[in-house]
Every structure is written in C-alpha cells, then in structure tokens.
Assembly symmetry: C2
Homo-oligomer: 243 residues x 2
C-alpha cells in the first residue's frame, strides 16, 4: 500500500468498507486492529486516486484486503459530520505514524497536514464467502480478523455507527436485491440459506414457508443430495443461478 501522504489522492475523502461474511450462524465483519497503542480497531479503508472511479477504488481496496477478485459491494452512505474524527485521536495517530515513517519523510510536518483535516468517508458494504477470503494485513495493521456482528471490538471514531448503518442497509436490501447468496459457498443447503437470512434480518422463519418463498424467487437450481454422515435424510444442494 502506498503512503497516503502522496498527493495523487483526492484529499479529505476516504472509503470505509464493511466486509460481511457468514459463519457459525452469525454475520461476521472483517476488521483490522491498527498498530497503535490503546487497542483500537478500524474498518478497512483507503483513498480514491485522482483518475479513479470511486467504485473502482472500493473494489481495489477490497481486493487488497480479501484477495478476492470479483466482489459484491454496495455504496450505502457518506459520513460527514464535522467532528467525526476527534482531534485527540488524530493527534495520537499522527504521532504514531511519525515514529514509523520518520526516516522517510518526517522532515516536513506539512506533509501530514492533509491528514489532520476532517474527512468525508464513503461507506461501502461487501458480501463475501468467508471461506474464499484470505485476510491481508497491511503494515499499518497489527492483525486482521473476523468478528461477530454482535461481538465487535472497540472501533475508532464513528466506525461502529458505520457498521450499524451498513447492517441496516443490508437488511433493507435483502429482499429487493437478492444478494444474500454472496455470503454462501457455491453450493449450499436450504437450511443454510434460511440461517443466513435469519442472521441478517434477526428474525426467524417457518421452515416450510421460507423454502416456498425462496424457491418462488426462481433463482436457485437444485443439484444432487449432500452426504452428511448423520442419522437422517440427506438434504438437496442448491446453486445460485446467475443468468
């Protein structure tokens, strides 16, 4: 990742990504822990090159973080409160960066001017098959891991609010856009589909009616049965049909 101090980015604009995965009957969010004393976590983020489409920038950032080439994402909101990045936090962060990048370019404090200013952040959410993701740490991160949506770590600034807004948007999109299947592997059982929908919406569904509803969407094709080894009937596998 290139240093953000270079000037071919659009200034004072960042992209924050809420990367949703699914496992253990819960939505998961991929979150890096930033290398900064105080144990803080920040959403995967990046900047927009001067000659780059904003959607392309989001795809690029997500590719860098997940290793996935073709990723499903939706822009959902711009966060632009004047005081969204508290001054104290930024001061500390710059000091920390100063230590790390000191040799390279610490001579001019003005290089960091753009960073002390207020940022507008464009929020994107992504839906990925958690098994396909190989989380990529940057040199600003201490770690990058999946966290259950209801077990989030302490986020910087307004990043928890951004996650909550992403979730609300996903919940409202789930019916109209039929995008929840992006959270699942290529093949899956009907039960898994139901559990994903329940994890997203926070509601439970009656199995038989849920199946009828999903099949009426006419987007699934049924494959062979799945051998589970359990003492019961094997469920059919389904695949999302993209035309």
């Amino acid at each position: 990742m290139k240093s953000p101090s270079q000037q071919n980015y659009i200034p004072q604009v960042s992209i924050d990504c809420v990367i949703f995965g699914y496992s253990e009957q819960q939505l998961q969010v991929l979150i890096p822990k930033i290398n900064f004393k105080g144990d803080f976590w920040a959403l995967p983020s990046g900047f927009v090159f001067q000659d780059e489409d904003i959607d392309d920038a989001a795809h690029r950032i997500l590719r860098e973080r997940t290793g996935i080439e073709s990723i499903y994402l939706e822009q959902f909101k711009v966060f632009g409160r004047a005081n969204r990045s508290s001054k104290e936090f930024l001061d500390k962060l710059i000091q920390q960066n100063f230590d790390k990048l000191g040799e390279k370019s610490a001579s001019h404090t003005t290089e960091y001017d753009w960073f002390t200013k207020r940022f507008l952040s464009v929020g994107y959410y992504a839906l990925v098959d958690i098994n396909k993701v190989i989380p990529q740490k940057t040199d600003l991160d201490e770690s990058i891991e999946w966290y259950g949506i209801h077990d989030l770590p302490q986020m910087i600034m307004d990043h928890e609010e951004i996650i909550n807004e992403a979730l609300k948007t996903l919940q409202s999109h789930i019916d109209e856009k039929i995008n929840a299947f992006n959270l699942l592997p290529d093949t899956f059982t009907m039960k898994e589909v139901q559990e994903v929908y329940e994890a997203i919406s926070g509601k439970t569904f009656v199995r038989t009616n849920f199946q009828k509803m999903i099949l009426s969407l006419d987007v699934l094709e049924r494959l062979e049965k799945k051998f589970t080894g359990a003492a019961n009937k094997a469920p059919y596998l389904y695949r999302f049909r993209k035309e």
Copy 2:
C-alpha cells in the same frame, strides 16, 4: 454566495440537490440555468465548509435556493466516476467565469486549479411545498425555474443521471418513510394525496383502496370540509400529524 475559490471548503467535493415539488399532477424539479453560452442547466449545488456537517451544508444550500428554513431532505448517493465532468465542458466554464470574475482575481490562474480537478458529488433530494418556495437566483445563474420531471432541460455532466437516481430513491422511500406529504400544503384532500403518490410512483391506484391504505398509516387527521364551488360533494381536508 461566496466565491468557491476560497480555500475553506473541502476540495473536490460538491453537493448536488434534486429539489422536488409537486404541481399540475406532476413532480417538478427546481433547476437553475447557468449563465453560460450553450444553454445548459445544472442542479443547485454547493460546497462543504471545513468545519461544517455535510447534512448542514445541504440544508444551507437548500435554504439559499428555496428560502425555506426547515426542509425535508435525504442523502441518496455519491457520484464519483472519474470522467463525470468532461474536460471540454469545464474548460469552457472556467473561461466564462474568468471573464466574469476577471477583475477580482484573474491574476493567478492557480486559483482555479481546484476547479479543474475531478469532483465527487454527494446527491441529496429534497421535498418541498412548491407554493412555499421563492426560487433564489445566484449571480452564476441566468434563471431558476421548475421543470416537470418528464420535461427536463438539457443538463450538464451527469446531472440527468443524478435526477433519475433521486427519483428511484424517492420511489423506494415513499412507502417506508411516508415522506410524500412534504410535497403538499399544510392541508389537502385525499384526492391530492393520491395524485402525489401516482406522480411519484408512476402507477395508478384504485381510489377506495388507496384511501383505506393511507388512513391505515394513521398519520392523518381529518379537518373540515372544503368548499369548492363545484356541483358536487365537498371533500374533507386532511392534515399530516407530526408527533
């Protein structure tokens, strides 16, 4: 309106407003004609001060243009294609501004540097009672007028796309947010409500069922009857109840 060349704005970010009104059974959009040869129209727009909430900036811009203090608005999308402002168009526009603002600050071409760069535009849509609006022309405008959503003039850049996106968003919001009443005066008949809903959605509704649906929302209070002078029963007036 202050000159955009001053540096206390967030650079390369603008706010574009789609101001919806309603009259003559059609959605109307308030659009200024820019003072620029070639007959071009541009959405009312503005910039964000460094210490200003982005929502506040949108409110400020709308106040400047409509004269209305408290206005209903929703942020709906960021437009950030790299080539969204064609170079040729901008070159012409700058030349034109150069003529107009020549005396003041034409000495330094660099003052206009920020303007030649690509902009990210945050789209907001507003809903207003068209009778309460007193359209305000700025010194960059030749005129500012209402246009039927289906009779738009030739818009610059991607502004027609922005209007279409605003309409799509409004259409999807109309049921969940119950905001269509912002387009009507304080009191109105049921028929007017229906016509507004039809103008927004592009669909027609059966009168009796529509009335039942609206009343079931439980947001209207019924007032006196309205004397029309016509040879028929006078309709009841309703008022939107804000609690």
